[in-house]
Amino acid sequence: MTDNVHSHSMTIKRSVDEVYAIAQRDGFALLDIAIDENRLKNTLDDDRCGAFVCFEGRVRNHNNATSVERLTYYGYEDLALNQGRAIIEEAKKRFEITHAIAIHRIGALEIGDVAVWVGVVSAHRYPAFDACRWILDTIKADIPVWKQEYYEDAPSKWLSNNG
């Protein structure tokens, strides 16, 4: 085996078109190239909706006081899709929203790259804010994606959202 032990979790099995189709149908997908925010946003056009809220999580140049050079996200694609679908279903039960869609990117990312994008539309503004934040928090807590940060002067390390 020439590839490393993480190669299966740095790329996705599906085509880009499949990814966007799944995201549109189920509200969540993983992608291994740059997220096309406008493509996601276009799926949310709805004349009934007065409010659109979106969140973009971008790779920061620092984590606490440490300077970050780049990072790599790894994902367990099939579980992520199943869990993502459940998260979006739950969001639509909890909040008065019309649609929600999110994509998490995996693979090697540079500073400034978008790692996760969440968009929500609703008739009124507060449910869109609340749902967007809840979906993001729940993605961070439950979607099987891992992150390794690379630093200038220290060895890379595995990070955790809850530790």
Binding site: M1, V5, Y74, Y76, L79, V116, P144, S160, N162, G163
Partner: protein, 100 residues
């Protein structure tokens, strides 16, 4: 309930004749580093629990995480540690995630 008893009886019977089930274990993140592989095929007795499976693989590979820190997924869905394992299942131990 009777279905569970049926299964238990079948399981005991299979164990007695030395039957095993084959499951696939996939590794991600620090567990893949420790196991030094992406996946492996494991043969276990049908009565093996997910906890026992993790203990056994943890000893084999020297995983640093205790079971309490992990979640477990069976066939691409999160599962409970008390869920049964069946022949052909795919099992993944999920270390603390870090998306977003």
């Amino acid at each position: 309930m009777s279905a569970i008893k049926e299964t238990e009886r079948a399981t005991r019977a299979a164990t007695q004749v030395g039957a095993v089930i084959t499951i696939k274990v996939l590794y991600f993140a620090s567990l893949a580093d420790a196991a030094n592989c992406q996946q492996e095929t494991v043969k276990v007795e049908p009565s093996t629990s997910l906890s026992e499976l993790y203990d056994s693989l943890s000893q084999k590979h020297g995983f640093s995480h205790s079971q309490e820190e992990l979640r477990v997924a069976v066939n691409d869905y999160f599962a409970k540690w008390s869920d049964p394992i069946n022949d052909g299942d795919s099992v993944v131990f999920i270390t603390p995630v870090a998306g977003g």
